[in-house]
């Protein structure tokens, strides 16, 4: 039995990558900023394990979808900033579409679409 707050949902496997890419669409950002942004934009529903964020960032960097550079944050701290690359943009578009289809299909199969209309 989980003792966690029921309104919070742990991330599904494989969803973190697309979320990271999406967050970087608005400009470069450092790891902590990305984690924060996901939490805020999901209105605190999605829970990002900060520890698993970095391996994910590393994976995306290895795939060439994002690039990184050391810089300074707005409060003058050194941080590693990530930026979406050209292929990363394409990847995001593709994965977004896949997610839409998946979500629609899941919804239809689980009977949510009908009950909604």
């Amino acid at each position: 039995m989980s003792t966690q707050d029921n309104s919070r949902v742990p991330l599904l496997q494989g969803t973190l990558d697309v979320l990271i890419l999406r967050m970087l669409l608005f400009g470069s950002q450092h790891g902590q900023g990305i984690a924060r942004a996901i939490q805020e934009q999901s209105q605190d529903v999605l829970l990002v394990d900060h520890g698993s964020l970095y391996p994910a960032l590393q994976r995306l960097e290895a795939a060439g979808w994002i690039s990184a550079e050391w810089g300074t944050s707005e409060n003058n701290r050194k941080a590693r900033f990530y930026k979406l690359t050209k292929t990363g943009r394409k990847q995001l578009a593709q994965e977004t579409q896949q997610w839409r289809r998946l979500a629609e299909t899941m919804g239809r199969v689980l009977g949510l679409e009908n009950s909604g209309s």
Binding site: G31, G33, D49, H50, G51, Y54, P55, N75, R77, R80
Partner: protein, 861 residues
């Protein structure tokens, strides 16, 4: 990411993250001390994140591999006995397959050491009932003119020549042979087309001149001719097929040396032709283009002749047939490697169990099971690499010894002209050894590694080894299968050895002692008659006969004969023999009489039939005086058949083995009269007064009076002809015994290891039994029963498998005189295996009784 990201860089990033998060939390109003802790809490385990980052980097596997090797090496150094047993048994198995592969490589895989070997093609022709690869000089010239198909065409004629009492394999080659092939010389030059000069093979240079570097320009006596030594070839090139030559001589010298006019259109074709195909022509195109030429050349009536253009880049062309022939020895050799793997696997299983403490500590402090399996596999890899190196050394020694043994075991008359292709180890052999080592690692190390990694953590933490049931079952299965393999190999070997003995002792129907066959090598017509006359006047010789074929070395041609024209035809081998034939070979005439000298001389239309032929042609009548009718098949050359179509039967001879011993006596045999001067006769058979008086040297000395060339006649004792027939069987049974012996030794050591190990696990149990009053005998019986169960199961499956294999063999190989399902062989093998298993378990069993019950019960473990 083209370079590896530094761990420090990553640590810095995480630090930055924590700082930013803390800043944020403080900005949200959290007290600084709590903010730091909260940031850490949301991040989770920093160390794990760092570790995961580290493991993702691409060099990780190498780093772990190096670590595993270092660790494995340390572990192996600590247990030299374990290393010695495993490396030794594995290297035995590896060396055997490497030997087999080295032979396969030398004959089938390694291309000739010439320029562009894959454009070399052998030219031949093929008709429905005949084929050939021999061409006359004129055919060769015509082929050489086909520049639309070939870049170059070479011709070659192999002949034996005598040089100072030694028989040399001599290749007479067309002009431009060496230029076309581009084989490398180590000394001198290649001779011009009509020069009286030779090129020596590397082996001949070594054998005849001990690698004397100043040999070029000296002369060599070849068949009573002094030839200048022009050059010496490198060791890699020995000729364009599977039998190495000793020297190369210009083809222009063939006619004077062999005393045959090669350029005479009436001479039979003797040249082998190898051509370099043009690069824009395929073999199939050349075949089509040459077919009209072949049809004209062969001029065989009513047959469709096709040209054959086959790749000749290696001594033996790789084909399904070659593979089929090789599959049986390959299977046997692989089985031995498998037994060796089973052995090592078994020892590793036992070791993994003995190492359970170490493994459990590693598991409990967080080693992943995958990593553990990898570590144990790496250890296996180290063992098999060592075994591979040792196996390569063993294979090299074994191969040399094997070749020496092979050549030494050949009958002397064959040994003079049989050469073995150089069997050195090249990159293919090294790669194969490496592959064999890797493959066997997977075979022997994977199961123990998986087994060890399955160790339940609870057991591990308790520090208590419960030898898992699957582990001991796996070990038992391995031992049982070892016993099975050795039994199969032993059954095959013993059956073979027993049939060889039975064949050697078989009654052939002819008396082969003190008889030699004499065959002229030089093609001069009065040779046979004068030799026959010379021999019959010699005091050493009891009798001389002429025949169309030599018994025990050539197969007789067959004709269809019948008792009445057109009815009840049977196919029977036939031989033309002179009047002294039956007497020379001691073949009894059962009824009637043999040929008279007059009938021989006149080649009269009379016949002697074998008892079996008489029985099948005239089952109810007296054959003597009957006519035997000869059905003349269309297209058969006239000079091969009697000049008449019916003959009077004058005698019945005893059934004899006409050609191959393992085919048994011929079901029917017909003899027709001939004499030494006739074209039907091609060999002489001479019987001496004793085996001593008919030694080949003595016979050769008599024959020298006819022809001064020592190699003009081939003289071979009938005993040697038989030995030559038996040679493949003998060699196979030797190899089989070697394999069976090694497999048996391996499975016994496997059995021994398993018993020793399981007894060390059962010390407590045995102690308790003894404390409760079990006698020593009952303990021995307990251990023996365990070993006999293992050996028994293996032997039972082995017997079934062997019976299946032998049954399969007997349906594939049709040898009438060989018994495949030989009960005695099965019984002997079974007794041997079970006795050996008993002996191997006796020592562990006796040691088990030495367990001190008092001590074992006190000790916790």
């Amino acid at each position: 990411m083209f370079f590896r990201r530094k761990d420090a860089d990553f640590q810095q990033e995480i630090q930055a993250h924590l700082d930013l998060e803390t800043d944020r939390l403080i900005a949200e109003g959290m007290p600084p001390s709590e903010a730091r802790a909260a940031a850490h809490k949301t991040f989770g385990n920093v160390l794990t994140a760092e570790e995961r980052m580290h493991e993702r980097s691409r060099w990780m596997w190498l780093e772990q591999f190096v670590q595993d090797i270092r660790y494995g090496w340390r572990g192996l150094r600590k247990s030299p006995a374990f290393v010695a047993t495993t490396v030794l048994s594995l290297s035995l198995g590896i060396s055997l397959v490497v030997i087999l592969f080295a032979i396969f490589n030398a004959y089938v895989l390694r291309p000739f050491a010439v320029r562009d070997p894959y454009s070399l093609y052998r030219i031949g022709w093929n008709a429905p009932e005949a084929k050939g690869t021999h061409f006359s000089w004129r055919d060769f010239l015509e082929l050489r003119g086909r520049s639309d198909l070939f870049d170059d065409v070479t011709a070659e004629r192999i002949a034996l020549a005598n040089s100072g009492g030694r028989t040399l394999v001599c290749a007479f080659v067309s002009g431009g042979y060496f230029e076309t092939l581009g084989a490398r010389l180590v000394l001198g030059r290649t001779p011009a087309g009509n020069e009286e000069a030779v090129v020596l093979s590397y082996e001949a240079w070594k054998l005849l001149f001990q690698k004397n570097p100043t040999i070029v320009g000296q002369t060599l006596d070849v068949g009573r001719r002094k030839l200048e030594i022009a050059g010496v070839l490198g060791p890699a090139f020995t000729g364009l097929d599977d039998s190495p030559r000793d020297l190369w001589v210009p083809l222009a010298l063939y006619s004077p040396m062999a005393q045959v006019n090669l350029f005479d259109p009436k001479e039979p074709p003797v040249l082998n032709v190898v051509a370099r195909l043009r690069h824009d022509v395929t073999a199939a195109q050349a075949q089509t283009a040459l077919t009209p030429f072949m049809a004209r050349m062969v001029s065989h009536p009513n047959t469709s002749v096709r040209a054959e253009v086959t790749l000749q880049a290696t001594p033996v062309t790789l084909s399904l047939d070659t593979l089929a022939v090789l599959s049986a020895p390959l299977a046997a050799f692989l089985l031995v490697l498998l037994t060796a793997c089973a052995n090592v696997s078994n020892i590793m299983l036992a070791r993994a169990n003995a190492r359970f403490r170490e493994i459990s500590v590693r598991l409990s402090i967080g080693a992943s099971r995958g990593r553990l399996v990898r570590q144990l596999l790496t250890e296996g890899l180290l063992i098999s690499l060592m075994a591979g190196i040792l196996g390569l050394a063993l294979a090299s020694i074994g191969l040399q010894a094997g070749v020496d043994l092979f050549v030494g075991a050949l009958p002397p008359s064959a040994a003079a002209s049989i050469r073995v292709v150089p069997l050195e180890f090249d990159h293919r052999v090294f790669l194969f050894t490496l592959a064999a080592a890797f493959g066997s690692t997977l075979l022997f190390a994977l199961a123990p590694a998986l087994q060890a990694a399955k160790l339940p953590l609870t057991d591990a933490l308790r520090g208590h080894s419960n030898d898992t049931r699957t582990g001991s079952r796996l070990r038992s299965a391995l031992v049982a299968s070892q016993v099975m393999v050795s039994l199969v190999l032993l059954v095959a070997t013993i059956t073979l050895a027993r049939s060889a003995r039975a064949l050697g002792a078989a009654d052939l129907g002819i008396d082969r002692t003190a008889v030699v066959t004499i065959r002229p090598r030089v093609n001069e017509s009065p040779m046979l008659a004068s030799a026959s006359a010379a021999l019959s006047f010699d005091p050493h010789i009891e009798s001389v006969a002429a025949a169309s074929i030599a018994p025990l070395s050539e197969s007789s041609r067959k004709i269809a004969v019948s008792a009445q024209r057109g009815a009840g035809t049977i196919g029977a081998p036939y031989t033309f023999v002179s009047d002294a034939y039956f007497q020379t070979l001691h073949i009894p005439i059962l009824r009637g009489r043999g040929f008279t000298p007059a009938e021989s001389k006149a080649e009269a239309n009379v016949a002697v039939v074998s008892a079996a032929a008489a029985q099948s042609l005239w089952p109810n009548a007296d054959p003597i005086g009957q006519f035997i009718h000869i059905e003349r098949p269309e297209g058969q050359a006239k000079d091969e058949l009697p000049g008449y179509d019916a003959a009077v039967v004058i005698g019945i001879a005893r059934d004899v083995v006409s050609t191959m011993v393992f085919e048994g006596p011929a079901s029917a045999h017909v003899y027709f009269p001939t004499n030494a001067s006739s074209s039907h006769a091609s060999v002489l058979l001479a019987r001496g007064w004793s085996p001593q008086q008919i030694r080949p040297e003595i016979t050769q000395a008599i024959l020298q009076k006819i022809h001064p060339e020592p190699t003009a006649f081939q003289v071979m004792p009938l005993e040697e002809a038989l030995a030559l027939q038996m040679f493949p069987i003998r060699i196979t049974s030797w190899i089989g015994s070697l394999l069976g012996g090694i497999a048996l030794a391996l499975s016994l050591s496997g059995l021994y290891a398993v018993l020793t190990y399981s007894l060390s696990q059962r010390r407590r149990e045995i102690g308790i039994r003894m404390a409760l009053g079990a006698s020593r005998i009952s303990i021995v019986r307990l251990v023996m029963a365990q070993s006999m169960r293992l050996a028994g199961v293996g032997a039972a499956i082995g017997i079934l498998l062997a019976a299946g294999i032998m049954k399969g063999l007997s349906s594939v190989v049709e040898l009438r005189n060989v018994v495949f399902i030989d009960m005695a062989s099965f019984a002997i093998s079974l007794t041997l295996v079970l006795t050996a298993a008993l002996a191997a378990s006796l020592f562990p069993a006796c040691r088990a009784t030495g367990v001190d019950p008092g001590r074992t019960l006190r000790v916790d473990n």
